[in-house]
Amino acid sequence: MSLDDLYTDFILSHSNSSPHKGTLEDADLREEARNLSCGDELEIFMALDDGRISHVRFDGHGCAISVASASVMAQLLEGKEILRAREIVRSFLGLFSDDEVVDETLLDDAVVLKQVKRFPMRVKCVTLAWHAVEGMLKDLE
């Protein structure tokens, strides 16, 4: 396993500068994603507009993997209908579970993150933001 397997340019660029990093003043939804064993805490903000996700931002402190994954997620979910977003999140989390069959076409760029599955200690990092969003979306009845 070479380094580039995990820390690809893709991950580095997303983690070093993400257009989705920041807060959202008029967010409709807010959620904290915490990975206490890493000390990581991300805050996810979401604005909704007529059944769609209009804006996603994240802020806080995390490793390259968790931050890159949050960035990719924000990019992917913006503009999607809530129902569709739920499917996407389910598919992404399915990448890291043994028994789920995943429709990877929903995931676009995010699919490259599935390589993290080979680094079991980092699965928590790559799914951190996604678990938070899963909860946010579930709460919308």
């Binding site: 064993s37 000390g39 390259a64 990092c125």
Partner: protein, 407 residues
């Protein structure tokens, strides 16, 4: 190199005794505070036990049971000798965490102690038991303020002087998150003068330096075999005899009883009183082999060797821009640090994948200590007898590389 033990074996050749370094010749293992590797004598002791003595102890008269019992009690004697205590004072446990829970529970049941005190830099295993037992049993809990990574004696004095009631100070001899070394002698004096008792979490200390329980006047001492070349699943609680005799038992079952009636039970004498159920017998024989191995080294030279590596590490790391060392200047065996632009997990992962360097990243089971330092997590390099100067150099080189890569 002056690094040789009594029998003239160079410390530099110690790695040869550890099968893991044959398996991974390039491995730079700097996660010794989490667990150490095992020499072949320890591994062979386990194989030998399961091949030649395997049996339950204390109970049967057949040949294997007899041999297993003798070996198990030999292990107890070796542990006792290692810290200058007598065998009756040595309770075998699963490890430091069980030793400390046993104690926190037993001291809570006793009416003598109204207050439990633990510094904020403690490992969760020496912090949460005292905090939680206080809540459950209505005792007072005082999380002792720290200054960065250090406990100041003034702070301790302020908190313990003029106490009316018996108290327990639970404190690490050497902290696992930064390597701060407690001035044990002074602290013991202060505690006893104020009418308290002192529990030393020796998980990090005992692997590193000779300790004389009798002479130290410490009331209780806890440590784990797996952090000092021994197997997982075995450790010890050493206590003053009169305290062990007075305290109620923790767990109940086979081995620890005297007479069991339908509604009441009388208990065995120490140390069996605190050992319920089949012990980790094979683990004890491995612990014995680990102690034999350490006894075969010149421990003063080993301690000096580790000190040299630690201060070299301080030196190397402090010249890396953006890197902050969290350990006290005179830390022992442990150097903790963070880099302003690389997350600890990324740094640890990078070092492992590119340089085969194993360090630990995270909160090191010491969240209050992390808060005290104003951080969420850190990297930690920790040394043991088989580490070399080259190990430190590879670490420093790897960190410089990581900073460039992530930068």
């Amino acid at each position: 190199m002056p690094l040789s033990n009594d029998s003239g074996v160079s410390l530099a050749r110690i790695k040869e005794d550890f099968p893991v370094f044959h398996e991974y010749p390039g491995l730079v293992y700097l996660d010794n505070a989490a667990t150490t590797h095992k020499p072949d004598t320890v591994i062979n002791a386990l194989v030998s036990f399961y091949t030649r003595e395997n049996s339950n102890v204390h109970r049967a008269v057949h040949r294997l049971a007899e041999r297993a019992t003798v070996l198990f009690e030999d292990a107890r004697r070796a542990v006792a000798d290692f810290v200058n205590a007598v065998p009756e004072q040595v309770v075998f446990t699963k490890g430091t965490t069980e030793s400390l829970n046993l104690l926190a529970y037993s001291l809570s049941l006793s009416e003598e102690f109204k207050t439990f005190i633990a510094p904020q830099f403690e490992h969760h295993s020496n912090f949460v038991p005292w905090q939680q037992m206080s809540r459950r049993f209505g005792r007072e809990f005082i999380p002792l303020e720290i200054n960065g990574a250090e406990l100041e004696l003034d702070t301790l004095e302020r908190v313990i002087s003029n106490r009316k009631n018996g108290f327990v100070l639970a404190v690490s001899g050497l902290t696992n998150s930064t390597g701060f070394k407690l001035p044990i002698r002074q602290v013991v004096d202060m505690v006893h003068k104020s009418g308290g008792i002192i529990v030393i979490d020796g998980a990090q200390l005992i692997p590193h330096e000779p300790f004389d329980f009798e002479d130290s006047m410490v009331d209780f001492l806890a440590f784990s075999a797996h952090k000092m070349l021994g197997p997982t699943g075995i450790g010890a609680l050493v206590g003053k005899r009169e305290l062990l005799e007075r305290l109620p038992p923790f767990a109940f079952g086979g081995e620890m009883i005297d007479r069991v009636d339908l509604h009441d039970t009388t208990f065995a004498s120490i140390p069996q009183k605190f050992e319920a159920g089949t012990p980790n017998i094979a683990g004890a024989t491995g612990f014995l082999a680990a102690i034999d191995y350490l006894n075969g080294l010149n421990r003063t030279i080993v301690a000096e060797h580790i000190e040299r590596l630690t201060s070299l590490c301080h030196e190397e790391l402090s010249s890396i821009p953006g890197l902050r060392i969290l350990s006290p200047e005179k830390s022992h065996g442990i150097v903790s640090f963070v880099h302003e632009s690389v997350h600890p997990h990324d740094l640890a992962e990078f070092l492992s994948q590119n340089f085969d360097v194993a360090i630990r990243s995270g909160h090191h089971c010491a969240q209050p200590q992390m808060k005290g330092l104003g951080i969420r997590s850190s990297c930690r390099a920790s040394f043991y007898i088989y580490n070399t100067v080259e190990d430190v150099e590879v670490l420093a080189k790897g960190i410089r590389n990581a900073v460039r890569w992530f930068g």
